[in-house]
Amino acid sequence: MLDQLGNGLLLGIIISVASVALSLLYGVTRIVNFAHGEIIALGAIMASFFSNLPTSRYIFLENTSPLGLSFEISLFLSILICGLFGAVLELFVFRPLRRNEFGNIAVLVITIGISIFLRHLYLIFASSKPQNYPLDLQRREQYFIFDLTPRNAKIIVYGILIMVLFGLFISLTKIGKQMRAVRDSTELANISGINSDRIILYTWILSSMLAGTAGIFQGMINDVRWNMGFLILLLVFAGTVLGGIGTSFGAMIGGFVIGIVVQVSVALPFMEGHTEAKNAIALAIMILILLVRPQGIFGKKERIS
């Protein structure tokens, strides 16, 4: 079980980053974004497209070779593209929907539609073959009680750093406070002189950049697939709901717990030969906790409505 702890930590950090992003978007816009998984996948797929060598066996859109940029530049570009994509979604889809006062359910169905559409676009663009980044193989080392490759240890450090920075941003900066104000009440934010449309745009950008980052991490520890976002989305939802939807800190902890539980459950005796069922354990735990605390571990009662 201990050797799974390092992997659990890794998955925990990744789910945690993605959950914080989902929760931020839900809190500010009240949109349950089923296309969140595809934004995660977008980060991973774009990073593969930018970084793999043109001579690699990966082909995009059946005749385009990857660009062979350095991995660092690829990371940067694909996170940027995720941010831009979030902006496009807000400006061309969700803002017009808001103007026309679409109901929550209609908007939810639209995010499901976007999710399916994008996933199949990725299938056409990146094919159904799993891809890997052009990174050299590394040997596992011992960090405290965790067995990790140096690269994966770095992912954990960066993941924690991202969340600390996010925490500081949301609690101390002007835009962070405005995001929390819009989360409490869009109408009162407007009445206070805040251009809430602008804050919602920034929220889409930030949430999408965080999602893309989580996707790249996931691509680094596992591989890059057209449907990877869909596969991870359930865990991200579980993390968000577990922590208490709408609270950043809750999503952070909830995502982390889900990631660790999923990974560690692989080592349970009765799971031998059934590792595919690991998600079921996490979801069972989520349901159990929600039966006891419907608002999530850190959620406040009044948030649920």
Binding site: R180, D184, S185, E187, A189, N190, I191, S192, I194, S196
Partner: protein
């Protein structure tokens, strides 16, 4: 000299398309005045303030701020033009600290150190780091007023500032309204507590079923037997 700072001419507005709650309301607020809007529950008083603040769409008629047509201007822009608005409900950010609530009201950095608001409501300074959601009803009302005042508005819209407050808190709120008015802020106030409100008002409007039913000097309304019987009887 009488100068209108806020003017509604034939304003019609509502929440759903094709169903107006306001059916052509006329109203003027002059510089330095306190003006009350009274009327039965559901008359459209809150709706009128929302239409002025750009929260709901004005379907017919015009709305002027300092003589300029501001009909259907986005809310945040109207606020930047010197309008302060304290809604009837949901008028604080519960998960933000008191200080952050005030900061949110100060979007254009019109106020540097908040000392004027802290002098008016010392409590807001004493508990500045606390979450606003922990405040009692009366304290919330003070915070809501403080948030609206922090941007140093020229015009203040107040929607039932005394609703649900203890008698002591009601006294406090009306006292602060008078004080705020003394600093030159023109105030439009919607109140259930019509007598109290008319006593501190220059003029008043009676709204009924989305229309002007009566308007006049505050003391004339209070002395008009018919209006007292129709609209103030139970108050």
């Amino acid at each position: 000299m009488i100068k209108p700072v806020l003017e509604c001419i034939g304003v019609a507005a509502g929440y759903v398309k094709g169903l107006n709650i306001l059916n052509g309301v006329d109203l003027v607020l002059n510089s330095g005045e306190v003006v009350s809007i009274i009327g039965p529950n559901g008359a459209g008083k809150s709706t009128l303030l929302k239409a002025i603040a750009g929260i709901i769409k004005i379907n017919a008629g015009r709305f002027y701020l300092n003589g300029l047509d501001k009909t259907n201007t986005p809310t945040y822009k109207i606020i930047h033009e010197g309008l302060g608005y304290v809604p009837q409900v949901n008028n604080i950010f519960p998960s933000l600290s008191l200080e952050e609530n005030l900061e949110m009201g100060n979007q254009k950095n019109t106020n540097e150190n908040f000392s004027d608001v802290y002098n008016l409501f010392p409590l807001l300074k004493e508990r500045s780091k606390e979450k606003a959601g922990n405040l009692s009803g009366g304290q919330r009302q003070m915070l809501a007023l403080g948030r609206a005042l922090i941007s140093k508005p020229d015009i203040l819209l107040l929607d039932e500032p005394s609703a649900g407050l203890s008698p002591n808190a009601v006294d406090e709120v009306f006292k602060s309204i008078v004080e705020i008015n003394k600093t030159g802020v023109s105030i439009l106030i919607v109140e259930q507590n019509a007598r109290r409100s008319l006593e501190i008002s220059n003029r008043g409007y009676v709204l009924d079923q989305g229309r002007n039913a009566y308007s006049g000097l505050g003391k004339d309304i209070l002395n008009d037997e018919k209006i007292v019987e129709l609209y103030l009887g139970k108050m």
